[in-house]
């Protein structure tokens, strides 16, 4: 997913990996091992797959960049380090400052609004498009190609296109004035009342194609016979959707919403390009606040504290969300 283009990966995989591992372990229980040993004893070169130290370079890199760096970030969050020289332990000072500062609380609110808003809207539109382009529609592959296109583009480049669309001298206002609604024209990204909503539109535009593709794959797996049987039994379109289609695509819903949520919470590129967090902090998110505090203002301790909060929100929501969709899926 575009922005999607995530460096993180879904919790979905974890569950699946764990399932694969456990099944593999049971496959290779002691019984099968002895059996294999017995049949192979005739062949001298016993098969050994690689060597554990082949994974060592990967282990070293992952430990340094994922574990040590993250742990160090957690430590910095409780200091007043500026990035150079020494630092002092400040306990929870950074966190009480976040709670006190209106700007930081606003960044938390904006982050949550953009993440949830974009997930809900892009998944609803993505699902509608996938349902529309399902089965018999002849041009479905071309439609999929077109709607998915924004997903592969860089969020930064996409943001610059939309900056023009929302510009005071841009297309939105030109259309409004051509239909006599001059009074509505405004600098959409420069107005604190509309800037955040404009950014939400950009996020939804770029992520819809990803949701659509996931749902198209999910829908392709819904057995046509069941739907036909339901239709023959007199189930209407709506009933078929709620009772046949939706339950069978719950795994797709889980994947698409988890990924969308994690990416939505990290939104950075689009904000920096569209508004820079302005006007007056109206579109600041946690990711842009971390950047501003740590890298522009050199307040590494405070930036790390904001990053710690962002990390905890991502982990908590990803796990809860996985649990909810997973649990609902189990019931069916």
């Amino acid at each position: 997913m575009s922005d999607t283009t995530t460096l993180d990966s879904p919790v979905a995989r974890i569950a699946r990996e764990a399932a694969i591992t456990s099944s593999r372990e049971s496959d290779e229980g002691p019984a099968s091992r002895t059996r294999r040993g017995a049949t192979r004893s005739a062949r001298p070169p016993r098969l050994v797959f690689g060597s554990w130290w082949w994974a060592l370079p990967g282990v070293v890199l992952v430990v340094a960049v994922h574990y040590v760096a993250t742990a160090a970030g957690g430590v910095f969050a409780f200091t007043n380090w500026s990035g150079i020289g020494g630092f002092e332990w400040t306990g929870l000072d950074n966190f009480t400052r976040i709670m006190r500062e209106q700007a930081s609380l606003r960044a938390v609110g904006n982050t949550l609004l953009l993440a949830f808003g974009s997930v809900v809207l892009s998944n609803v539109t993505g699902l509608l498009l996938a349902l529309g382009a399902n089965r018999v529609v002849k041009t479905r592959h071309v439609l999929r190609l077109l709607f998915f296109m924004p997903v592969v583009l860089s969020p930064l480049a996409v943001a610059f296109i939309w900056k023009f669309v929302f510009d005071y001298a841009g297309p939105v206002n030109a259309v409004l004035s051509s239909v006599g609604l001059d009074a509505w024209a405004r600098a959409w990204l420069g107005d604190p009342a509309t800037a955040l909503w404009a950014i939400l539109i950009v996020l939804v535009w770029q992520n819809t194609g990803f949701a659509m593709v996931i749902y198209m794959a999910g829908l392709a797996a819904v057995p046509g016979e069941i739907e036909e049987a339901a239709a023959l039994d007199g189930a209407g379109l709506r009933q078929r959707f709620w009772h046949v289609v939706l339950p069978s695509i719950m795994p797709a819903v889980a994947i698409s919403t988890t990924l969308g949520l994690v990416n939505g919470l990290r939104v950075f590129d689009q904000i920096l390009a569209l508004t820079g967090g302005g006007p007056a902090g109206a579109t600041e998110t946690l990711a842009t606040a971390v950047y501003r505090q740590a890298f522009s203002l050199g307040d590494f301790g405070y930036g790390a504290a904001l990053a710690l909060i962002l990390t905890l929100i991502i982990l908590a929501l990803a796990i809860t969300q996985q649990y909810l969709t997973g649990a609902r899926h189990e019931e069916d």
């Binding site: 995989r13 554990w52 089965r135 480049a157 023009f164 890298f295």
Partner: protein, 277 residues
């Protein structure tokens, strides 16, 4: 039962109307980039260019000591280098965790598993300080190492999934013929994994090519800044010369779009299937 009816035709038409509205931003992108400066400021943003020309593109390519072209070159080298690192280290580690059941290999498996869960935000600040201390910020090699490390868990699990679906017959046959472990891996197993390598290359390549945040922090202002960073700084100096801004946006999109149209099926299935594991 599900035949092509008049209703389906109607559905198809509605979908195309939605698609055209959806793609309108690309209309503005293309028409504006080919306008002259006077037209950008003088004509309606909805109008087609009067005398379409490449002036904006030529401007952008030569401006600022060819910053855009150098950004393009950096992006190509950094993306290619990182993909190389990910394919080599990711396939080796993925092979180990999917085939071996020893204690150390199991340990590595759980280590990579947790790394996939950990969000990278919190590590960015210490990573920057560490890289600065080692003199790796602002260098292409530092960036390649960093991207390789950041995306390695993803590459490892993509490979591990593919290795699991491959039976062990080839390895057994090669072992009987006296091939060493390294020969078995590099000459038999890895060549069979070209579709895994393709998925890793597409997914990781796209993420790295489009990444702005990491390269802004680690390469911002340096000689080897990538295209998104060069684009960000250059556009900052353009105020509202939209023809020039869109020229550079188009230049940055061409390589990805060319790849996308060329290998669309691979892209869509690799992207959707790869990310969901």
């Amino acid at each position: 039962m599900f035949r092509y009816t008049k209703l389906t035709l109607l559905r198809e038409i509605v979908l195309w109307i939605v698609a055209i509205a959806f793609l309108l931003p690309f209309y503005f992108l293309l028409t504006t980039a080919f306008k002259t400066d006077a037209e950008v400021y003088g004509s309606s943003p909805l109008a087609l260019p009067q005398s379409p020309g490449f002036e904006a593109f030529l401007d952008v390519l030569s401006a600022g000591d060819r910053a855009v072209l150098r950004g393009l070159a950096s992006s190509v080298l950094i993306t290619a280098g990182s993909i190389g690192g990910l394919v080599l280290l990711g396939s080796l580690a993925g092979y180990v965790i999917s085939r071996r059941t020893g204690r150390r290999s199991r340990g590595a498996y759980y280590l990579f598993l947790v790394a996939i869960l950990l969000p990278t935000q919190l590590g960015t600040v210490p990573l920057y300080i560490g890289a600065r201390a080692l003199g790796l910020t602002g260098t292409m090699w530092g960036m390649i190492v960093l991207y390789t490390a950041m995306l390695l868990p993803l590459a490892i699990f993509l490979y591990a999934g593919f290795f699991r679906s491959l039976g062990t017959e080839y390895e057994e046959a090669a072992a009987v013929d006296g091939a060493t472990r390294a020969q078995i891996f590099f000459r038999i197993v890895l060549p069979l994994m070209s579709s895994a390598t393709g998925t890793v290359a597409i997914l990781a390549g796209l993420i790295i090519w489009n990444d702005f945040f990491t390269s802004l922090i680690f390469l911002g202002g340096s000689e080897s800044q990538t295209l998104p960073v060069a684009m960000y700084y250059y556009i900052g100096s353009l105020v509202s010369r939209w023809n020039a801004i869109f020229a550079i946006v188009i230049i940055s999109m061409i390589p990805i779009l060319a790849f996308y149209l060329f290998a669309q099926k691979r892209f869509i299935t690799g992207f959707a299937g790869g990310l969901k594991g």
